[in-house]
Amino acid sequence: MKEKILEVSGLTFAYDKSRNALEDINVTIYQNEKIAVLGANGAGKSTFFLNLNGVREPMQGEIRYRGEVIGKKDKVKLRRHVGIIFQDPDSQIIASTVKAEVAFGPMNMKLDRDEVEKRTMAAIKEMNLESYTMRPPHYLSGGEKKRVSIADILAMDCEVMIFDEPTASLDPVNAQMLEDVLNRMEEEGRTILLSTHDVDFAYRFAERVLVFFDGKLIGDDTPQKIFQNEELLKLANLKKPVFLELYELLREKGKVKETSAYPRQLAELDLLL
C-alpha cells in the first residue's frame, strides 16, 4: 500500500457567492501516483490545484498533507512540498534572469546562499537551460519559458508536482521533452498531477484519472474505466482516446488476446496481437 500524501475531504470553494467553484471534493492522493485531471474549462481544475497548494483556502472541508491538517499558518510549509507549474509561463516568471527566476522559490524558503545556488543550478541543468542562465525571460521562446517554469518548481524540490495544462501551446519537440520530464519525475518518486484536454495523452500517461464537471468531482478511476464510461464521457464532454478505440475495435474483431490489463502503448498492444 502506497503512502497517503494529500487527503482532501469535503473541500468547497467559491470565488463569489452565486456559484461554488468547487463543491464537496473528496479525494486521496498517494505517493508516486500519475494523475490526469480532466474537465472542460471552468470545471474547477485550476481552482482545485490552487487549493492543494494553499494559495486558495477551502471555505469548507480540509486538506491534509501526510496526515497533518493544513491550517492557515502551515500554508508556506505546504508550498515546499506541493508545487504548481502554471499553464502560461509568463504568469509565473517574475525575475529578470533565468537564474534569479529559478532561485525565487528556494530564496522564499529562506535557504542559505550556497544551498539556493546548488538547487538552482541543478534545476537549470536538469531542464537543459545552462546556456540561458543569465538571460532575461523576455528573450526566450515559448518552449524555453515552459522549461524555466518547470525548473522553478524543481528547484523547490517539491514532492508533488502539479502541472496546469502543460501540453497546451507546446510544439511537438517541446511536448516530447515534457513527457520525458514527467517520466523522469515519476522515476524520482514524485507524485504528478496534471490537467489536460488531450485525452490521448492522459490515457497514455496517467495511472489514475479525475474528472471535474461544474465544480464537482464526477469521476475518479483508472483510465480504462473512466474512458469506457460512456455516460461520464458524455456528461464531461470528453472524447474516447484513439488508442483505446483502436484496441476495442481489434478486440471486437477477435484480433487480440483477451486480457484484463488494457494496453496503453504500442509495445504493449503488440504483445497482445
Binding site: 490552487l50 497548494n53 517574475i94 534569479a100 525565487f104 522564499n108 532575461p136 523576455h138 528573450y139 518548481i153
Partner: protein, 263 residues
C-alpha cells in the same frame, strides 16, 4: 537571443555586453562619477574627453556595434537640437551680436557667448549620456535594482521595480499581438479608424493587465512568496583590470584640469 523588443534595445545590449562581468557597484560609481564630473566641470574638454573615453569603453570593451552605438547616441538628438536652438537664439536689441534678423517687433540674434554656451551644453549632454550608457548598456535591470537595494531604497519600491520591469515586456508583447490582430482586420486603414483602434487597444491592454495581476500574485504565492521579494543577486568580482580603466579616466581628467588651468 533575438531582439524582439525593438524599442528597448538598450535592455538587449545589457545582456550581451563585454562589460557585463564587471562588478556592478564599481560600474555604477564609475559611471555616476563621470556623469557628475561632466556636469559639474562644465568644460568642453572634459566633455569631449568623456565622450571619447566612454565610446572606447562601450564599443571596444563593451563590444557594442559602432553604428548601433551612434544610433543610440542619436536618441536624444531632437531634444538637444531644439534645446540648443532655444539657448542659442536670443531676442531683444541684439547688441554685440554675431548674426541677427528682424522678427516681428523684435530681433532674433546670436552672440558668440550664446553660441559657445549652446555648443557646450550639447557636448555636455552627449558626454553625460555616454557616461550613463556605460552602465545602462552593460547592466541588466536586476543588477541595477540590486544597487538601489544597497543604498537602502525601501524594499517595497524595489519590489515594484522588479515587477514593473517584468510586466513591461509582458504588456508590450500583448500589445504587439493586439496590433497585428487589429491590422489584419484593417484597424489601421485610415486616420479616423486608427485613432479608434489605438484607443481600443489601450483600453484592452488595461483590462488585460488588471485581470492578469491577480493570477500573477497567485503564481508568486504558490512559490512561497510571503510579502517580501528577495531576488537572487549574482556576485561579480572587482578585478584589477576593471580598476585600470577607472584610473585611466581619472588620470585623463586630472591632466585636462592642469592643462586648462595653465592656459
Amino acid at each position: 537571443m533575438k531582439k524582439t523588443h525593438s524599442h528597448v534595445s538598450i535592455d538587449y545590449y545589457a545582456y550581451i555586453s563585454g562589460l557585463g562581468n564587471w562588478n556592478t557597484v564599481y560600474k555604477v560609481i564609475f559611471s555616476l562619477g563621470a556623469l557628475i564630473t561632466v556636469i559639474a566641470a562644465n568644460s568642453v574638454f572634459i566633455s569631449a574627453a568623456t565622450i571619447i573615453f566612454m565610446l572606447y569603453l562601450n564599443v571596444v570593451i563593451g563590444k557594442i556595434h559602432g553604428m548601433d552605438y551612434l544610433r543610440l547616441l542619436w536618441v536624444p538628438a531632437a531634444f538637444i537640437l531644439l534645446g540648443g536652438i532655444a539657448i542659442m537664439i536670443q531676442f531683444g536689441s541684439g547688441a554685440g551680436s554675431l548674426f541677427s534678423i528682424r522678427f516681428f517687433w523684435t530681433r532674433l540674434y546670436i552672440t558668440t557667448d550664446n553660441l559657445r554656451l549652446s555648443l557646450n551644453t550639447a557636448l555636455k549632454a552627449f558626454a553625460a549620456i555616454s557616461a550613463f550608457y556605460m552602465v545602462t548598456l552593460s547592466t541588466p535591470m536586476g543588477e541595477i535594482i540590486s544597487v538601489f537595494r544597497k543604498v537602502r531604497v525601501p524594499g517595497l519600491i524595489l519590489e515594484l521595480m522588479h515587477l514593473i520591469y517584468r510586466y513591461i515586456f509582458i504588456l508590450s508583447d500583448t500589445n504587439r499581438a493586439q496590433k497585428e490582430a487589429a491590422k489584419s482586420r484593417n484597424g489601421y486603414c485610415d486616420l479616423k479608424t486608427s485613432f479608434r483602434t489605438f484607443s481600443g487597444e489601450i483600453a484592452n491592454l488595461f483590462v488585460m493587465s488588471m485581470k492578469k495581476a491577480d493570477m500573477y500574485y497567485d503564481a508568486m504565492e504558490a512559490r512561497g512568496y510571503e510579502g517580501d521579494c528577495d531576488f537572487w543577486e549574482e556576485k561579480k568580482a572587482l578585478t584589477g583590470g576593471q580598476l585600470v580603466y577607472g584610473f585611466l579616466y581619472g588620470a585623463l581628467l586630472i591632466l585636462i584640469f592642469f592643462i586648462e588651468r595653465r592656459s
